[in-house]
Amino acid sequence: MKRPRIGIFKFTSCDGCQLSILNLEEEILDLIEVFDIAYFREASDRPLKAPFFIALVEGSITTDRQRREIVEVREMARYLITIGACATSGGIQALRNWASLTAYKNYIYPSPDAISALATSTPVSEHVYVDYELWGCPINREALLETLVSFLIGKRPTIPGYSLCMECKHRSIPCILVSTAEPCLGPITRAGCGAICISFGRPCYGCFGPKEDANIESLLRHFEALGLNQKDCLLLLDKMNSYAYRKAHIEQGRR
């Protein structure tokens, strides 16, 4: 039987989520048995050749060229899956969405005019249809495996959409928001990391983005009651998933 072909595509990102594929140290050989890793620029010279059963897409869309390329990737693939915060929600570079691109360019480059970039960093789903989105900065390796296997056998991946708080409860980690009153994003954030930060005694800073129907307004009001000013509250949302949290917050206001 011919193995289904996977292509791995990179847009604007840190390469960490692609690295998660190579970090499947024990499983990578098994993965190669069942899938043909047909395009993976970071690890292989194989030239780009369509079609693909799955396109794994890392990175957000931040240039004109990428806006065209993502459409080409969509056309080459039966299923398109985004991996990580950049591809799924615009990533940390989406902080520019709330600022002036010209000011950013001027701050960094001696000749800012030579730099071409869009004024925004946006998730892949704002450009083409996405079959499945894997959240996380970085993604969780087990979730990646689960997703690939699920698409291979034609089932829906079992990855929860509930909040990080569930993972703390599963691991019997005392609630940091209650016990130390530190501003933890757990209640509005998707489970997926295994509550790493809280187990290290620091509040969640939102690597996995907003959970389904997150009540962001209520948590922000709670933070204000703890003594944070409004600006600092927003800074907590404005990290790797800034665009997704802000959007969820606005949508919540509309409900």
Binding site: F11, D15, E42, T62, G91, P138, I196
Partner: protein
């Protein structure tokens, strides 16, 4: 007669870059190493953020070497605040860095550069290469395990904070790694012999300037003075002043060189520089293996970066074992401090070489300004020099050989293009 050699999209490197070389009438008329990775503007959006964000944010510049970004930034902030860290914390940070050197080097040696010497397209493309790839996988895994125990996860770890760590591991968490580390160390010594037996291109550059940190007692990671084989010897702050960054039209990464009289001279950072300038700090056993393998120091052929990386994998494993054996869990995971304003530069040795961070903070510890110079943007000028040397020495050869040779040279620097987009990060 004009001949153009073009690599539009380099493979087996991190990030997006290419190279264009034009040969006209038997001489190189144009040579551009271009980076087209899209800019991410880290230095711009860090402004106005509170200091703890610096550590989490800059990690996101690179998924391959997040620890390096955390190490350079946390030390710079501690310098501004005047925070001293205790011995066990210093050791743990060094151990965390060992983990990153191991995983990053193993990735490059066995998955990115290694296939070049076997003429295979990837580490899994050919059964011949499989035993080599397996050694790489095992080494990479143990590196990632160290990072995960100390940092919570292998990519973008979360435990580093100003004054120390959010939580420190228990002694047994670390000692449980010892048997695997000992085995990996033995393998890594074989790795040095393997690397030194590979078929290299034979190109040597006569006048390379190697730059790295140097520490009086140890192989450099988090501390030291900046030194070079051409007489540089200065404090970290001094180095950023003698650097000149410049923008080239074909690249989103800024290049940099050392200002000398009226010219800017390219230099090289990374494993070759560190090894050439610090090999006497290696343990006797590893020095012995270097000698047995017939490795001549200093290394002058940049393709032999794979040897330097293999030596550093062995060293990082040796050092990890040493630190773990001595480790006692500290009473406090971090020291207390008060934020205050100021400016500081700190340099640490990322797997790919010196990573320079400068921050200006206000009295509450919010970022007023910053500048980050990753190793790859320091190496870009030197990569071009290296390519020019290679093409000039082989100018009559067919284009496909020149193209392949050029790709190999670029890859041997382990360029991290997503980083180099420095500013474009």
């Amino acid at each position: 007669m004009k001949k153009t050699i073009r690599v539009d999209y380099l493979s087996r490197v991190e990030g997006e870059g290419g190279v264009t070389i034009e040969i006209r009438d038997g001489a190189v008329s144009k040579l551009n190493m271009k980076v087209f990775e899209a800019p991410r503007f880290f230095e711009a959006f860090l402004r106005g953020r509170p200091y703890p964000d610096i550590i989490d944010f800059t990690a996101r510049i690179c998924g391959i070497c997040p620890v390096a970004y955390q190490m350079s930034s946390v030390h710079a902030i501690e310098r501004i605040f005047g925070v001293g860290i205790e011995r066990p914390i210093r050791d743990l940070r060094r151990l965390l860095y060992c983990g990153e050197w191991i995983q990053s080097h193993a990735l490059h040696v066995y998955f990115l550069q290694g296939p070049d010497f076997y003429d295979v397209e990837s580490a899994w493309a050919d059964k011949r290469y499989l035993p080599v790839a397996m050694r790489g996988l095992n080494l990479k895994k143990i590196g990632n395990q160290i990072i995960t125990i100390i940092g919570g996860r292998a990519i973008h770890p979360i435990s580093v904070r100003v004054g120390g760590f959010y939580r420190t591991p228990g002694r047994r968490d670390l000692t449980s790694l010892l048997p695997d580390l000992e085995r990996a160390y033995v393998e890594s010594l074989k790795g040095i012999k393997w690397a030194s037996s590979l078929p290299f291109n034979g190109e040597t550059l006569p006048d390379i300037e190697y730059v790295s940190l140097r520490h009086p007692e140890e192989y450099p990671m988090n501390e030291g003075r900046v030194v070079s084989n051409r007489g540089l010897d200065m404090e970290m702050d001094g180095f950023s002043e003698c650097l000149q960054e410049y923008q080239v039209g074909y690249s989103t990464a800024l290049h940099s060189g050392i200002k000398r009289d009226s010219s800017i001279s390219p230099y090289i950072v990374g494993p070759i520089s560190r090894l050439n300038l610090n090999h006497e700090k290696l343990p006797a056993e590893i020095r012995g293996v270097i000698k047995e393998s017939g490795i001549m120091l200093p290394i002058k052929n940049t393709e032999m970066g794979i040897i330097a990386r293999s030596v550093e994998i062995a060293y990082a494993l040796y050092e990890a074992i040493r630190i773990i054996k001595d480790y006692e869990m500290p009473d406090r995971a971090f020291t207390d401090f008060e934020p205050k304003g100021g400016v500081a530069t700190w340099i640490t040795e990322a797997p790919r070489g010196m990573l320079i961070h400068t921050y200006e903070l206000d009295d509450r510890g919010y970022v007023k300004g910053c500048n980050i110079i990753p190793p790859t943007s320091q190496n870009l000028g030197h990569i071009e020099k290296d390519l020019l040397n290679f093409i000039e020495n082989n100018i009559g050869k067919p284009s496909y050989l020149l193209k392949k040779g050029s790709e190999r040279i670029i890859r041997s620097y382990d360029p991290c293009i997503s980083c180099s987009v420095h500013l474009l990060m």
